[in-house]
């Protein structure tokens, strides 16, 4: 399960058997959304490979449940992850 940093410990505490990767970040954690790409670009570049590196080990990917509507996730990170997941499942 890939989730934000803040969600990692509660999820792991409720369900210790789940493999949790708390690598995502939300705007309300430490990303200033602003309109300036330079602000969030480094965060994207750091986060995306932490998820996509696991794609070869996965049979299927579910995107959405528990995601919430954080603007950084909804408008920046997740659309890119969907594209990456789409590319990965074509191959």
């Amino acid at each position: 399960m890939f989730c934000t940093q803040a969600a990692g410990i509660p999820i792991k505490s409720y369900s210790p058997e789940i493999i949790v990767h708390p690598v995502l970040k939300a705007a309300n954690e430490d990303i200033d959304l602003g309109t300036n790409q330079e602000v969030w670009r480094p965060s994207l570049d750091a986060i995306l490979p932490k998820v996509t590196q696991w794609f070869p080990a996965l049979h299927s990917i579910i995107i959405g449940p528990g995601l919430g509507r954080d603007l950084f996730l909804a408008d920046q990170l997740i659309p890119r992850l969907v594209r990456k997941a789409v590319e990965a499942s074509r191959t």
């Binding site: 299927s60 579910i62 408008d75 074509r90």
Partner: protein, 195 residues
């Protein structure tokens, strides 16, 4: 394989191009999410859906192309190039409608008498397993088959859990009943094939 559910569908509404034409994605909207997707993709107001309360009961059936839900779900599937699984709600009647744009199937086997948060998440998780199994075992039309299987399994699990928990049912009860549901469905399938 990729399944997009819940708030992931809001992402698709805002960034339709990230899935359009993909072919391998399954989207699992409820009626509200379906309406939102419909508006984003077609630019039209709410689609007309079938009033199942006026239809005879069904288990699993191919929907005719002039059925209102079939028209709406298959059109959205074609425009997005995805498989669409329109989930049950009580107001629209207890039938799941699944389409890849060319073929549309309705599943109306008994489910839970009570809705509760989280059953949709269980459905997405179940489909993620069935779709992998369908693809790995080279089942024809694997995404459609996986969605129908997921619907049948979760509905049966919800039905079994509801028998026991009645109005105290919550999503973890359905999760606990998944294995029993699968066993019952397999026994029924074996019985039918040996008749």
């Amino acid at each position: 394989m990729i399944i997009i559910d819940a708030d992931g569908l809001n992402v698709v509404c805002r960034h339709v191009d990230c899935v359009r034409g993909h072919g391998q994605a399954i989207l699992t909207p409820n009626v509200v999410e379906f309406g939102r997707l419909w508006k984003c993709v077609t630019g039209e107001e709410q689609p007309t859906l079938t009033d199942w309360s006026e239809q005879p009961a069904l288990t699993v059936a191919n929907l005719s192309s002039d059925d209102p839900s079939s028209l709406a779900v298959s059109r959205l599937a074609r425009e997005l190039g995805c498989t669409i699984f329109l989930k049950v709600t009580l107001t629209q009647g207890p039938v799941d409608v699944i389409s890849n744009g060319s073929r549309t199937i309705a599943v109306g086997t008994p489910g839970s008498g009570k809705r509760c948060g989280g059953i949709g998440d269980i459905l997405a998780g179940t489909i993620s397993t069935t779709v992998h199994l369908a693809v790995a075992n080279r089942v024809p039309d694997p995404l459609m088959e996986a969605c129908v299987a997921g619907s049948l399994i979760v509905r049966r699990a919800a039905s079994l859990a509801f028998e026991e928990k009645q109005w105290s049912l919550t999503a973890p009860d359905v999760l606990d009943a998944l294995s029993a549901a699968l066993r019952v469905l397999l026994i029924e399938a074996n019985t039918q094939s040996s008749l």
